[in-house]
């Protein structure tokens, strides 16, 4: 049973993790959620990213957010990873399974999943 009391427990659990409250975590995972992204299947990708970040307990390290049209609609769903001091990584045509790997290998492990990046696609 999900109750508001349970939500209060989540709040207490997160209390000590300063980064979360300030919203200034190191890594930003951004998903394109305009009409093009949504129609291409961005919603389950975004849901999976949120689930995996929660499951791996990475919320003090990374935030998952939405953005509008990135401008490369033919490559949607697009997931961008921003990290201070590093170059932006753009993953294209992402599926929920790919999202799982991105969280495990890139966000948790620090190793870019090169085969999913836009640079790996022939135009």
């Amino acid at each position: 049973m999900k109750t508001l009391a349970e939500l209060a427990q989540i709040r207490e659990k997160m209390k000590d993790k300063v980064g979360i409250r300030e919203g200034v975590n190191g890594i930003r995972i951004v998903v394109g959620m305009a009409t093009c992204g949504i129609a291409a299947g961005a919603r389950p990708v975004l849901n999976t990213l949120v689930e995996e970040v929660a499951k791996e307990d990475l919320s003090s390290k990374a935030t998952v957010t939405q953005t509008g049209c990135i401008g490369i609609c033919q490559y949607e769903p697009v997931v961008e990873v921003f990290e201070a001091g590093k170059e932006k990584v753009t993953y294209v045509k992402v599926t929920p399974d790919m999202a799982k790997r991105i969280v495990a290998e890139h966000i948790k492990g620090g190793k870019i999943v090169t085969e999913y990046t836009i640079g790996n696609y022939k135009i």
Binding site: K2, L7, I20, T35, I38, R43, A54, V64, T65, Q66
Partner: protein, 181 residues
């Protein structure tokens, strides 16, 4: 769009972009009608813009020249014999937009609602500093989520926090379970 809940996710983004402090998403089911209404107190649209929003070749975005959000919503309604209506005001005293889609559930081309719980949690994630109320009234009962009530409990912890997101999704799912016949 394969699910109406995806259209809802898409249309409600416009309200967030319009800087709404409150966006209400109201779903009403009565007999064979399914009504989707998205109501906001954002900046509103001019009469000139209002005339153009159903045109797929009109968009406010700068990245390309087509905008399909409202046209796809209209298509989904009209293919069931329904329609959409948009009212908008830029007056300082009552600015905002109301978009209403009327659908007929018994029509063969009615798009299923789909995974609405996923939409609701992502709307709560995307509404930024604004608030969002989701209410689905069916003949069996009601499902509701009001981010203002959640913020009171969260005391500054963002709605976009992954654990909070999962809680919202389950909370909505559970309410749907409860009203299932």
């Amino acid at each position: 769009m394969k699910e109406l809940s995806l259209n809802i996710l898409d249309i409600a983004q416009n309200s967030f972009t319009a800087g709404a402090s409150l966006t209400e998403i109201l779903l009403t089911e009565k007999e064979n009608r399914f009504i989707i209404q998205v109501k906001d107190d954002g900046c509103g649209m001019s009469e000139e813009t209002l005339l153009k929003v159903s045109n797929p070749f009109y968009t406010t975005r700068t990245t390309r020249k087509v905008g399909l959000g409202i046209p796809l919503f209209r298509l989904a309604a009209e293919q069931t014999g329904g329609y959409i209506e948009i009212q908008s005001s830029q007056k300082p005293e009552d600015h905002g937009t109301v978009i209403t889609g009327v659908f007929f559930k018994d029509h063969i081309d009615f798009t299923p609602l789909g995974d609405i719980a996923s939409t609701v949690c992502l709307l709560a994630q995307g509404c930024g500093n604004g608030d969002m109320v989701f209410r689905h009234q069916t003949e069996n009962g009601e499902v509701e989520l009001d981010t203002r009530a959640l913020r009171e409990v969260l005391q500054g912890l963002p709605l976009s926090n992954p654990d909070v997101q999962l809680w919202i999704k389950d909370y909505v799912k559970q309410q749907y379970e409860n009203i299932k016949m």
